[in-house]
């Protein structure tokens, strides 16, 4: 059990900064997810915590110890790789036991520990097999078992589910979450998939271009995005952004599910209560429970999430309406969130913002 602290951590490859002065506290026992588009520096950050990349500048502290100079094996961490990185020439048992043997654990104790872990992840019948004889899901479990058996203070996971099919991925998501509850260790998890981040993390770190955009719980991230990037990265489909009326230095944004579509015939919306725009449905995506309607309006193209029963067809004329309290206000240049609307007036919800 340990918390992980990053202080002004920077990484540059040949003069090109990939991670630019990160300050981050990962609380003890938390399930922290680093999420962001590819190339945002999230994997590099994880690899620096693991010790697989050197830190160009700044400090990494695990527990009470600055680990910058410690080799990966001495940091009391375990990592699950995207491609599992199992030892192909060793069987499942040896794969799991390898780290223990290197630490000088006795053969007998090793056997007890490995069998115990294999039982937990459901690999007891496969201990004699080589990784090449296992399915993707089973390999994933070996990788997990290999990490778990060392009982590390911190688990690092680099997109561990990205090589699994959708069904197995959902299942493993649930299993990882409950594993985290059982073990109580600190989990640091890297993904580019915002669904994974939202469902698994209790603290989410959104990164972009080597910077942290926001650190928050999943719900806060969704409801109180601090900037345009987070607003558009979190949520599927992303937040709609439209031109602000009256103030040219602002833009407005609203979530697709907060908009209501009205047939064009019903018009004359009181603009005191709602933002509205006339437009035409240009395409429809049916998701089952919901339908996504892409509407070309006079104020820009927006996506509206509607009930599947909504009868709007492609080509029909509609009016998109959004109650003012669901309208977010952002600064145009910096993308910083200003606040929400109250009636026709923007109200600052946070003094200055803290990003």
């Amino acid at each position: 059990m340990a918390r992980v602290v990053l202080e002004q951590v920077t990484k540059a490859f040949q003069n090109q900064s990939v991670v630019k002065g990160l300050d981050l506290v990962i609380p003890d026992g938390s399930f922290t997810v680093l999420v962001g588009p590819s190339g945002c520096g999230k994997s590099t950050t994880l690899r620096m915590i693991a010790g697989l990349e050197t830190v160009t500048d700044g400090k990494i502290i695990i527990g009470d110890q600055t680990v910058n100079q410690l080799p990966p094996g001495k940091r009391d961490i375990a990592m699950v790789f995207q491609n599992y990185a199992l030892y192909p020439t060793m069987n499942v048992y040896d794969n799991i036991a390898y780290g223990l043997r290197n630490r000088g654990t006795s053969k007998k104790e090793c056997q007890v520990l490995v069998e115990e872990i294999a039982e937990i992840v459901g690999l007891s019948d496969y201990l004699k097999r080589k990784p090449s004889q296992l399915s993707g899901g089973q390999r994933q479990r070996v990788a997990l078992a290999r990490a778990m058996v060392k009982k590390p203070k911190v688990f690092l996971m680099d997109e561990p589910l990205s090589n699994l099919d959708a069904k197995l991925r959902n299942q493993m998501r649930v299993e990882l979450t409950s594993l985290h509850k059982q073990l109580g260790s600190t989990f640091i998890y890297v993904t580019h998939d915002q669904v994974e981040a939202m469902t698994m993390g209790d603290q989410i770190v959104v990164m972009n271009d080597g910077h942290i955009m926001q650190v928050a719980t999943p719900m806060d991230l969704y409801q109180e995005p601090e900037n345009l990037f987070v607003a558009q990265f979190i949520g599927s489909p992303p937040m709609n952004i439209v031109a602000a009326e009256g103030k040219s230095e602002h833009v407005w944004g609203f979530r697709p599910e907060k908009a209501v579509l009205l047939p064009a015939a019903v018009s004359a919306i009181a603009s005191e209560e709602m933002w509205s725009a006339r437009g035409q449905v240009v395409s429809r995506e049916i998701l089952g429970s919901d339908t996504l309607l892409h509407v070309e309006t006079e104020k820009g193209r927006v996506i509206v999430k509607a009930d599947s029963e909504a009868a709007m067809q492609v080509g029909s004329s509609v009016t998109v309406t959004v109650p003012w309290e669901y309208m977010y206000v952002f600064e145009k240049g910096s993308g910083k969130r200003v606040g929400r609307m109250s009636g026709r007036v923007p109200v600052s919800t946070r003094a200055g913002g803290d990003s």
């Binding site: 990966p72 094996g73 990592m79 790789f81 199992l86 192909p88 020439t89 390898y98 290197n102």
Partner: protein, 318 residues
């Protein structure tokens, strides 16, 4: 025949229609069975012509007493040639030389190449330059290599002895003494082969995924254990391949011997292939040469089979 069948198959022409049809069917069946062999024929013909025929004829010739100068006078002597070989002290020495040469060249050569590959398997430019330098002997013809080393190893004017004397060591006899001549050939052979072997080893090393080493680092694996438990097993197909081709080529060493020592001094560097050449071309003992060729064939066959049996259990293919 087939055309006739088609005519008869016209409606209402023949009573024996079914019979003819079944015959036609058999024809097309045969054609489809033969087709694969037809496609294989060019390769098979070459194989028979240039592989089975020579092997067969060399076995046949090994039971004859014959020589290249008088091919008409061929006499069946049964196993006499083999018996002569078994009794011949020179031939025993030749077998011994071949074994020592092969074991030393393959053993030292591959170990050296492996260590070089471990050292050179890095990204910086300088390693690429060293790699190219080490590889260069491979593209020089063995004749040139032999001439070069004869000059280097010259007892009076050679660079090697000059070097030894410069650091205060006594001059070495190199190719001129039976005690040192085989060692000299082994050195030349290793020098010639090390670049190619290193290149293949480096290719093998580079095909090992990097994240396995990262996982090993996280598992606190000390470098020698990483080498023993991860690198070498992952490299086993490469090691296996190099072991086989190096063993076979060492067994068939000829050019260096022919140019540098002609098997001497006092038979000390004579090896199987050169012995065969000597018997057949210099001494006109066609029968003996053929019998020795058959023995070479059997030995190489056994060695390869043993390699396959032993290694196939330990080689890891992904």
């Amino acid at each position: 025949m087939r055309k006739a069948a088609t005519v008869q198959e016209l409606p209402g022409v023949s009573q024996s229609k079914t019979e003819v049809r079944s015959q036609a069917f058999a024809w097309s069946d045969l054609a489809s069975r033969l087709r694969p062999y037809l496609y294989l024929a060019p390769a098979l013909i070459c194989f028979v012509l240039f592989f089975f025929y020579p092997i067969g004829s060399i076995i046949y010739l090994s039971f004859q007493d014959w020589s290249l100068i008088n091919l008409e006078q061929m006499e069946w002597v049964g196993l006499q040639n083999y018996q002569d070989l078994m009794k011949d002290g020179d031939f025993h020495q030749v077998l011994g030389n071949t074994a020592v040469f092969t074991i030393a060249t393959v053993g030292i050569g591959l170990t050296l190449s492996f260590l070089l590959a471990l050292w050179l398997n890095k990204k910086a430019k300088v390693y690429g330059i060293i790699q190219a330098t080490v590889f260069s002997p491979h593209i020089i013809s063995l004749v040139s290599v032999s001439m070069l080393w004869m000059w280097l190893m010259d007892p009076q004017f050679g660079l090697l002895n000059a070097g030894l004397e410069a650091v205060g060591l006594p001059a070495y006899t190199w190719l001129t003494d039976p005690k040192s001549s085989l060692l000299s050939l082994i050195i030349v052979s290793i020098w010639k082969g090390v670049g190619y072997n290193t290149l293949i080893f480096i290719a093998g090393l580079q095909s090992i995924p990097g994240d396995i080493y990262e996982a090993a680092a996280l598992d606190q694996s000390p470098w020698w254990r990483t080498l023993r438990r991860i690198t070498i097993p992952m490299l086993s197909p490469t090691i296996f391949f190099l072991l086989i081709i190096n063993t076979i080529s060492s067994f068939q060493a000829f050019d260096t011997i022919a140019i540098m020592t002609q098997g001497g001094p006092i038979n000390s560097t004579n090896m199987l292939v050169y012995y065969i050449y000597e018997q057949g071309m210099d001494f006109y003992n066609g029968g003996i040469a053929s019998a020795a060729s058959v023995i070479l064939l059997i030995l190489v066959g056994i060695l390869t089979a043993v390699h396959f049996l032993v290694m196939s259990k330990r080689v890891h293919y992904r």
